[in-house]
Structures are given as structure tokens and as C-alpha cells.
């Protein structure tokens, strides 16, 4: 589970092998992952819902970066556009429309926190126990070679193999729209 220390130290000291693209990518990944996790942690800890939103933006942005590293450039754009551009705006509106009276606690009591942490640790532990030990028979050892842009590949997939889900997604959005209109409107 722990990274083996020797290569890391060696690399950092520039001994063997020379700093290459792979290492840079890795470092970028770790940096972004750290940011993403920090944002997530911040979201949990922050006591102000507005700060929550900002931490979330940090995470979402970092994840977009990670998407790039993982060869999903189009997805990164979508992530930034929809999440940061649409969802976060929506959420900020939501926050502003619901001013709270007084200073209410943003997190539950110690019991709830403990329970939440236990559940999260349990879930994480289970998942990690599985994914780190599993072998993935279909997965290639190395990242696959991807063309410079994945957009056309995705487009083909989306409108060919997954045309039906695409249509369903549109209905989903329609429903969300109608429903939100009805429910959120002043009575």
C-alpha cells in the first residue's frame, strides 16, 4: 500500500533515471489529487456553507486536471463547464436564496461525526481492500494509447452505442426542469 521509498528518494535526488515525462505526470497527479482531497476535506470541515462551495470548486477543478492526466481531455472541459460553470452557480444561488438566521452548526454533533467517520472509513476500507488486491483481467497494465483528442471518439460512442441513454438523459433534464419549476416556484 505504501509507496516504496527507495525509488522516490532516488528520483528526487536525480540519481537514476533522469526526470522524465512519466515522473512529471505522476507528480502532477499527486499534486492535483492532494488538492482534490484537501478540497473534499475542507468541504467537510468548513463551518460556513459558502466556504463549502469554494472548497468544492477546488476539488472539482483539481478533478478536471486529473481527467486531463487520465486522458480525458473532453471530459475535463465538460467538468469545468458543467460543474464549475453551471452546477456551482446553481448552488451559490441556492445558498444565497436560503439565508440562515443566526449561527447554526454546519456539522452534526460528535456522535453524528463519529458515526459518519466510521461509515466512511468502513466503506473506504472495504473498497480499498478490494481494489488494491483485485486483478483486473480486461485492464491493460499501461495506459492505452489515446489519440490527441478524445472528442470524436466520444462523439461516436455517444451518438452510436449510447444513443438511447443520451435520449434518456434529455428526458431526465426535462423532468428536472419541469419539476424544479413547479416545486421551487413561490406557491
Amino acid at each position: 500500500m505504501l509507496p516504496e521509498p527507495a525509488p522516490l528518494v532516488a528520483t528526487l535526488l536525480g540519481a537514476t533515471p533522469p526526470m522524465n515525462a512519466e515522473l512529471l505526470t505522476a507528480l502532477g497527479f499527486y499534486a492535483l489529487a492532494g488538492l482534490a482531497l484537501a478540497g473534499a476535506l475542507g468541504l467537510i470541515i468548513a463551518s460556513d456553507v459558502f466556504h463549502d462551495a469554494l472548497f468544492l470548486v477546488l476539488t472539482l477543478g483539481s478533478v478536471a486536471g486529473i481527467f486531463v492526466i487520465l486522458g480525458a481531455d473532453f471530459l475535463a472541459v465538460v467538468q469545468v463547464l458543467i460543474y464549475v460553470g453551471a452546477i456551482m452557480i446553481l448552488i451559490l444561488f441556492g445558498i444565497m436564496l436560503t439565508p440562515q438566521l443566526g449561527n447554526l452548526p454546519n456539522t452534526g454533533g460528535p456522535g453524528q461525526i463519529a458515526a459518519g467517520v466510521i461509515a466512511a472509513v468502513a466503506v473506504l476500507g472495504t473498497i480499498l481492500a478490494v481494489i488494491t488486491t483485485a486483478t483486473w483481467p480486461r485492464a491493460s497494465a499501461a495506459p492505452i494509447d489515446l489519440p490527441a483528442g478524445t472528442t470524436s471518439l466520444l462523439g461516436t460512442s455517444l451518438f452510436n452505442s449510447f444513443a438511447l441513454p443520451f435520449e434518456v438523459a434529455s428526458v431526465l433534464l426535462l423532468i428536472a426542469m419541469i419539476g424544479a419549476l413547479v416545486i421551487a416556484r413561490e406557491p
Binding site: G108, A119, A122, T126, A129
Partner: protein, 615 residues
């Protein structure tokens, strides 16, 4: 006629059915229906008796209950000497008692019911003696018990009568429990319930003696219950709560004698089971003396007669147990007549004074000379004074007992006691001045007539036992059996002992005075107390029934209520309680719900993964 002997039983049944169906609305019609039917039955009985003395024998069987495998259960009737004798005795005594009842029960609100049940009883009793197999016999055996129950409880508004009726039924049922077991026991050893077949198999040695002994002892339980033999005797004195004619017919002449009859009927089996015979004889002998002692102290005239009946039945049992079946039956017949008469006399007296208590009687010979006469003759016969009937049969029994010193002694002592308590009754009732109120309504002819008629056999029926005639009874009842030997020495001794008894009674009670007996009572106080309390047997029974049985029942009932039902309700409460507890887990907090969901996933996954050992 003998081939249609079932008619004898059917006639009273018919009367019962007609009364039940509607004739009960007219009491007098009911009574006469009964009398007519029983009269006709008595007539037919006599005819049949005549044919049987001529050698006719009949046996017929019908399927009662078919079985899937093997022979069906049969019922049927037979006519032989024993049956014929009993038919005559039962039907004639019953007829006389019915006639007597016309007067005795006059004005009773349950008049019609009384006669209906009397008819039913006569039917059952006749059926009992006609039965040719143990099953049929048992059926009628229970029916006479039922009639006894119904008639003892005739005045059901009297709590004592209701209790006595119940007691009679339950105690005899206790004996019947053994009877039924005995029947089954014999059935599975002999594969038949036909008495004649059983007798054949026994004679052929096909049934091991041990089995026969057990079977006969069990059957004797039934006989002991019915015939009030120790220790199942406790019901008979109480049964005197019934109307006196009922006591005369059922509890003196016929039903109680059914036990003796049963042993006589199964005598061909019994005689091959010496141990059983010994038991029968011992119980009989013991009961004879045991009951007689209690008769000495009772102040209730009917109870004295009841103890006397028990005692005499013991006598008969002893005779049969000693192998003198014919003698026992001879005594049964004689006893039936004179004891019925004695009871009817007692009824007549009670009618006069409206009480059973002898201390409140006295001097009644003036009002009822006929009764006085009849009762005296009956008492003499019972005491065994020559030449009355009791003398002859009692003598045969004593003769049979000679070989067994203890039983012989007991029998002799009983003779003494019998004579003593009977003359105590005679003195207390008829001699001296009136001690209580007398309400003389006059004695109707219907009550007087039976007494007169019964005097005849009381005097004469024993004469058939005169040694000069050979022993026709034994020849008739037990062809091939040993003829009864008349033993003049024994006869003389017993006569002397009886006279001694009479003398003792005279000393104590002559002139209807009670002061001398009181003095004796005081000097023998512990014994008197013991006797008055009937040896405390009833106390023991009450303790068993009310203490032990009801105590166990109490435990069972509470076990049912608290343990079993407690567990049942506990399960229910547990379920509802668990539901309520789970319900509280539904806190309304959505995050708690989410927590449950996630923990559920982890748990499920863990459940699935753990068997893999988490490589």
C-alpha cells in the same frame, strides 16, 4: 319362547320409550305402562324359566361393530339356568316394587319420570342378565349404573341426593375401569368376548393361568364396585338418599347383586384361577363382617339395611370365591326376595313417620301390624333361622367355608352380627312407645300387597335347599359341579350363633329402650366412633378426591394458565416489543437512514467477502 327371550328386556324398554315420547304427561298412565310391561316381562320370564328347567338352552349373537380385520364385536343374548333364574328374580321383584311405588310415590312431582327410569332400569338389568358376552354385559352394566344414578338423584333438589347419585356413579365407575381393562385383557388373550367361548378356551387350557388370574381380578374390580365390596363400598350407604322402592329394587335385590351374578356368570373362568378365587373369597368375607359391624351402630333404618346388603353380598362373593357358585346364587335369590321385602317394610315405616331415623320411631307395630310381621319374618330369614329361606342358603355357604377356618370364623361372626343388628332394627322400630311423630295416612293396598306376596318366597324359597331333595339348585345352576353338602353340625352352630345374636339384641334393645345400648356405647366409645365414622374410609376418599386429585388439577390448570399461555403471550409480546424497539431506530433523521444504508452495504459486502479470506 326362550328363543325370543330378548322380548323380556324389550318390554320395559318399550314402556320407557313410550313414556319418554309423551306418555309422561299423564303420570298414572306412565306408571301403569311400566307395571304392565314389567308384568308381561315377568310372565314371559316364568315361561322361559319353565322351558329352561325343561332343558332348553338358547344363545344368539349379532354383529355390533364390524372390524376391518378379524371377527367383529358381537352382542347377543343367551338363556340358560343362571339367566332364567335371574330373569325371574329381577322381573318379579321389579314388578312388585313398581306396584308398591304406586302408593309410595303417589303425589311426587317426578312420578312419571320415576316410572320411566324404573322401566329403563328393569330393561337394563334384564339385558344384563341376558347378555351372552362380556361386551354386551358391560354395556348393560353401565346402563344399570346410569339408572342407579338417575334414581338415587330422583329428588335432585336435595343436595345430599345429588351428591350421593354422583358418588355412586363415580365409585362404581372406578370399579368399571378395572372391568373394562379386564375385558380387554381377556380379549387379547382369548380373541373373543363370548362367555361360552371363553369358558371353552379356558377349559381347554388355551389361556395361561396367570393371564386368567389378572383378567379375572380386573373383572372382579367391576363386580366389587357394583356389589359394594370393600374398598369400593362407600357409595351404597349414601345411595339410600333415593326413594325407598329404588333402594329395594336396585340397591338390595338386583343391581348390587349384579356383581355376584357377574362372578357367577364368569365362574367357568374364575374356577381356573385359584388366586383370583382366593381374593374374591377374602374380599367377600371381609366385606361381610366389615359391613355388618357398621350396621350395628347406624341409626338410619335404610342404612342399616344397606350395610346388611353389603354384608350379604360379601357373603355371596365369599361363596363364589370358595367355589360354591350355586350356593352363592341360591343366597342371591333368597336375599333378593327378603331384602326387597325388608326395604319395602322400611319404606312403609318411613312413610308413616317421614324420617329414616330409628330413634324417632318406636312402637310402630301398632299402626303397621303387617309390616311388623313381614319385617320380623324377613329379619329371621336374614338371620338364618330355620326354616326360612335365609337359613338354607346361608347354611350352604357356611358349609362350603368349613375348609377355611378364617373365613368360616368370619362368616359365623357375621351371622351373629346380622342377627343382632336386624333385631336391633325390629326393636327400635316396632317395640315400645312412639318416640317421634306419626302421620298415619293409611297404608294403600298397593303397598301392602307386595309385602304379602314377598312373604311367600321369604318363607318358602329356601325349601328347595332341603337336603332331602338332593341338591337341585347345584344341579340346575352348575351341572356337573359338586353337589352342596348339607352339614348338620354347621347348621346347628350357625343357628345357635344367630339365636345368640338375636338374644344380644333383645338384651340391649328389648321394649325399644335405648339406655342399655347407650351405656355400652359410652364404654366402648373409641370403637363406636370408628364405626359411626365408617372406619373413616369416606374421609380417605374425600381426601383423595378433594385434596389429591383436585390439587393436581389445580397445578395443571395453573401450568396451563401461566406457563404455557405465558410462553405464548410472551412470544407475542416479544415480537411487538422488538417491533417497537426497531421502530425507535426510525428516528426521522435522514442522515441516520443514509448511515444505515451504507453500513448495510459494508455488512453485506463483508458477508460476501469474508468467506474468501480477503486474499
Amino acid at each position: 319362547m326362550a328363543a325370543q327371550a330378548w322380548i323380556i328386556a324389550a318390554l320395559p324398554l318399550l314402556a320407557f320409550l313410550i313414556i319418554a315420547a309423551g306418555a309422561r304427561r299423564s303420570p298414572l298412565l306412565s306408571a301403569w305402562l311400566t307395571i304392565l310391561a314389567i308384568g308381561a316381562a315377568a310372565l314371559v320370564s316364568l315361561i322361559v324359566f319353565g322351558q329352561v328347567t325343561g332343558g332348553t338352552r338358547v344363545e344368539q349373537s349379532y354383529t355390533w361393530l364390524p372390524l376391518g380385520t378379524g371377527q367383529p364385536f358381537l352382542v347377543g343374548f343367551q338363556v340358560d339356568s343362571l339367566t332364567a333364574t335371574m330373569l325371574v328374580v329381577v322381573s318379579s321383584v321389579s314388578l312388585l316394587v313398581q306396584i308398591y311405588s304406586l302408593g309410595y310415590m303417589a303425589g311426587d312431582p317426578g312420578f312419571a319420570r320415576y316410572f320411566a327410569f324404573m322401566a329403563l332400569f328393569t330393561f337394563s338389568m334384564l339385558g344384563l342378565v341376558l347378555a351372552n358376552n362380556l361386551l354386551a354385559l358391560y354395556i348393560f352394566w353401565e346402563l344399570v349404573g346410569l339408572c342407579s344414578y338417575l334414581l338415587i338423584g330422583h329428588w335432585h333438589e336435595r343436595p345430599s341426593a345429588a351428591a350421593a347419585a354422583k358418588k355412586a356413579f363415580i365409585v362404581t365407575r372406578f370399579g368399571d375401569f378395572g372391568f373394562l381393562a379386564g375385558i380387554l385383557f381377556l380379549y387379547w388373550h382369548a380373541n373373543t368376548l363370548q362367555i361360552s367361548e371363553l369358558a371353552q378356551k379356558v377349559a381347554a387350557g388355551q389361556i395361561p393361568e396367570s393371564a386368567l388370574t389378572v383378567g379375572m381380578l380386573l373383572i372382579f374390580c367391576g363386580a366389587a364396585g357394583k356389589s359394594a365390596q370393600f374398598p369400593l363400598h362407600a357409595w351404597l350407604p349414601d345411595a339410600m338418599e333415593g326413594p325407598t322402592p329404588v333402594s329395594a329394587l336396585i340397591h338390595a335385590a338386583t343391581m348390587v347383586a349384579a356383581g355376584v351374578y357377574l362372578m357367577a356368570r364368569t365362574f367357568p373362568l374364575l374356577e381356573h384361577a385359584p388366586v383370583a378365587m382366593g381374593v374374591v373369597a377374602s374380599i367377600g368375607g371381609f366385606t361381610a363382617i366389615f359391613a355388618a359391624t357398621m350396621g350395628l351402630v347406624s341409626t338410619d333404618i335404610k342404612r342399616v339395611l344397606a350395610y346388611s346388603t353389603m354384608s350379604q353380598l360379601g357373603y355371596m362373593m365369599m361363596a363364589i370365591g370358595l367355589g360354591a357358585m350355586a350356593a352363592g346364587m341360591f343366597h342371591l335369590v333368597n336375599h333378593a326376595f327378603f331384602k326387597a321385602m325388608l326395604f319395602l317394610c322400611a319404606g312403609s315405616v318411613i312413610h308413616l313417620v317421614d324420617t329414616n331415623e330409628m330413634p324417632e320411631m318406636g312402637g310402630l307395630g301398632k299402626e303397621r301390624p303387617l309390616t311388623f310381621l313381614a319385617m320380623t319374618v324377613g329379619a329371621l330369614s336374614l338371620a338364618g333361622i330355620v326354616p326360612l329361606s335365609g337359613f338354607w342358603s346361608k347354611d350352604e355357604i357356611l358349609g362350603a367355608a368349613v375348609g377355611s377356618p378364617i373365613l368360616f370364623g368370619a362368616a359365623l361372626l357375621t351371622v351373629f352380627l346380622t342377627a343382632a343388628y336386624m333385631f336391633r332394627v325390629i326393636y327400635l322400630t316396632f317395640a315400645g312407645p312412639h318416640r317421634g311423630q306419626v302421620h298415619d295416612h293409611g297404608e294403600p293396598t298397593s303397598m301392602a300387597l307386595p309385602l304379602v306376596v314377598l312373604l311367600v318366597p321369604t318363607v318358602a324359597s329356601g325349601l328347595i335347599g332341603i337336603p332331602a331333595l338332593g341338591s337341585p339348585i347345584a344341579a340346575f345352576l352348575e351341572p356337573g359341579g359338586a353337589p352342596a353338602a348339607f352339614n348338620p353340625v354347621v347348621a346347628a352352630i350357625s343357628l345357635l350363633v344367630a339365636l345368640a345374636g338375636i338374644g344380644t339384641a333383645t338384651v340391649l334393645y328389648s321394649g325399644g329402650k335405648m339406655d342399655r345400648s347407650h351405656a355400652l356405647q359410652t364404654s366402648l366409645a373409641p370403637i363406636h366412633t370408628l364405626l359411626v365414622n365408617r372406619y373413616y374410609v369416606d374421609h380417605v376418599y374425600n381426601w383423595i378426591a378433594g385434596g389429591v386429585v383436585l390439587g393436581i388439577a389445580w397445578m395443571a390448570d395453573n401450568f396451563d394458565k401461566y406457563v404455557i399461555d405465558g410462553m405464548v403471550n410472551g412470544v407475542g409480546e416479544l415480537a411487538v416489543g422488538t417491533g417497537g424497539w426497531l421502530r425507535r431506530a426510525q428516528t426521522g433523521q435522514v442522515q441516520a437512514y443514509a448511515w444505515t444504508l451504507l453500513i448495510g452495504v459494508v455488512a453485506l459486502a463483508a458477508l460476501a467477502l469474508l468467506p474468501l479470506g480477503l486474499r
